[in-house]
Amino acid sequence: MLSTRHIIDVQDMTVDDINLILDTAESFKEVNERRIKKLPTLRGRTVVNLFLEPSTRTRTSFEIAAKRLSADGINFTASASATVKGESLADTAATLSAMACDLVVIRHKYAGAPRILTQQMDAHIVNGGDGMHQHPTQALLDLFTMREKLGKLEGLRVGIVGDIAHSRVAGSLIPALRMVGATPVVIGPPTLMPARPEVLGAEFVPSLDEALPGLDVAYLLRVQMERAEGMPFPSVREYSRLFGMNSQRVAMLPNHAIVMHPGPMNRGVEISAEVADSERSLVLHQVNSGVAVRMAVMYLLLGGEASGASA
């Protein structure tokens, strides 16, 4: 059993919760390799994907996870939603609550939005990314991938490279790494760092080249060219020269070290095509793990209840 009803902020979870999710995901990973990839576990349960910000990858991953557990999945997306008509998030939540949903995955442009849902409905809430705050299932699938490929999490030194300030991925991954005994290091231009990275539990290293030899994982963040107003660095060319992962830089990593990226990638910006397609890159493994981890999250939040459904 998880210690929390919702997955909103990794800091609400215990280390035991994280390990339980990762262990459970391992068994679902096996299911995903079968020809018939479906379990009856969540039959009759309703999962709503409330995606109020454009997303294809994360939404699809949650959708597949719900379907593989036989839950009824409904997509409620921004273009089709009432929010464009001016309905408040609280009212949308109350509406979904009235329809008796069991679990809501929310992706939202603004930090803290999942809390508004918890105040309005009894359903379990999973944060699919809130503003610049958190994206906990991404952090969990990243931990899953690291553990699978490197055999452990404790003691790993993970360099997270790029736009930390605007990244909800980093917002969850940094505290999650700390919780499991790994050491997160943030690397990038100072203009892409949060005001106080040490508050998240990360050490700031300005030079990628200096950091590389000590890393077990090089985790490249997408340069969010659509988000920053006024580029916080002079040019993409300069960014790529200072912080882009290319073959020369991969050679500076220890032999066992891996390269990760949450996607979608800007090839030629934060990662060269050559590295992206190389064996060192686990980008597609991450995507694959994502389905298993999201199945585990849904199963653990809803499955425990289902077994005692009459209660």
Binding site: L89, A111, G112, R115, M132, G171, A195
Partner: protein, 430 residues
Amino acid sequence: MALLLRGGRVVDPAVGLDEIADIIIRDGVIVEIGPDLTIPKGITIECAEKIVVPGLVDIHTHLREPGFEYKEDIASGTRAAAHGGFTAVCAMPNTSPICDEGSAVRFIVERAAAHGKVRVYPIGTITVASKGAALAEMGDMVAEGAIAFSDDGSGVQDTGMMRLAMDYAKQFGTTILSHCEDESLAGKGVVNEGVVSTRLGLVGWPSAAEEIHVARDIALCELTGCRLHLAHLSTAGSVAMVRSAKERGLPVTCEVTPHHLFLDEDALTPEYNTSLKMNPPLRTAADKEALIAGLIDGTVDAIATDHAPHAVHEKALEFELAPFGSTGLETALSLAMTHLVSRDDFSMSDLVRVMAHGPRSCLGLPTMRLEAGSVADITVIDPEARVEINAPFFESKSSNSAFMGTTLLGKASEVLVGGQFALRNGKVVD
């Protein structure tokens, strides 16, 4: 009609008073203060165990009328003021239509005369529509009753325009109020830049965005000689600059709000409580301590509420979408009694200094002293009254208080405006 306030602790540092005394008021004016006074007929108010002080004034109030009457109006806002112990408020001009010309000022004066429970002093804008591009008709507004000018809510971004406004305002002897915010730095910030912005993934509003304007406007004060009042200062650096400006003898005053004095950014948790979203944002504990130190040593002239009522549905939004502001009129005195007067280094006389005399002198309002001949704008405080801050407590139309759910000690029991009750036995007089 005669009125006797009997047996209260009468406190007014302006006349060196802090003693048990009686006060006789006749025709709206104080006629005698002393021991064992009697009146042949009239009303006697027992003030034993209570504290009688010059009427409190809030120089930073958003009454919201005209245009936003669903949040507050002049009637409800002045009821809230009376409930909180104030005998006068200064109304900020960011209404709709905005208060940037004489007829808009006259509207407020007339509405306040008809519906106000306490005195209302209108503040006009510095620039047309507070857009920072052209001077508003200050002379026209002064003629109709405006007492100061402010582009509150945004602040004048262009330094040349601010200089022009300060030069022009000198002829009226009025004060220019500065909302210190460099928008190119504060940007879309919603919380203090630092620990809380990092922790909650919110855009930061750095202290420097305020301090740059504080430094700029002090320099302009020196250049122009215009009286300058700095609104809702929130940082240690701002207080230090004001202290230094005062040492140089510049005509600079400043205010701080109760929420910046008694809350800091640590109050913001992953609950994303939008009642704690204000502009400027809650700062660090060290900033808070510096504001209190400034209040004690006289650098800070006034506590001002920045009473900013908003409807429930407006605050029940995502943190980044909710409007800035907390209500303040009904909690300021109780907070000051609970958290300041309880200190060894802050006396009841200090409270009178920062909530009654200081506010008046910042904006050049008529003085009020507890002495014979003075207009009877008086606040009576029950220091033992327990106050539960919850929705039913408020006279304001809005209840977006940063202090919701707290319990405070000390509350106004009577408010006299020109000798007339606005508040009696803790209840607003209808």
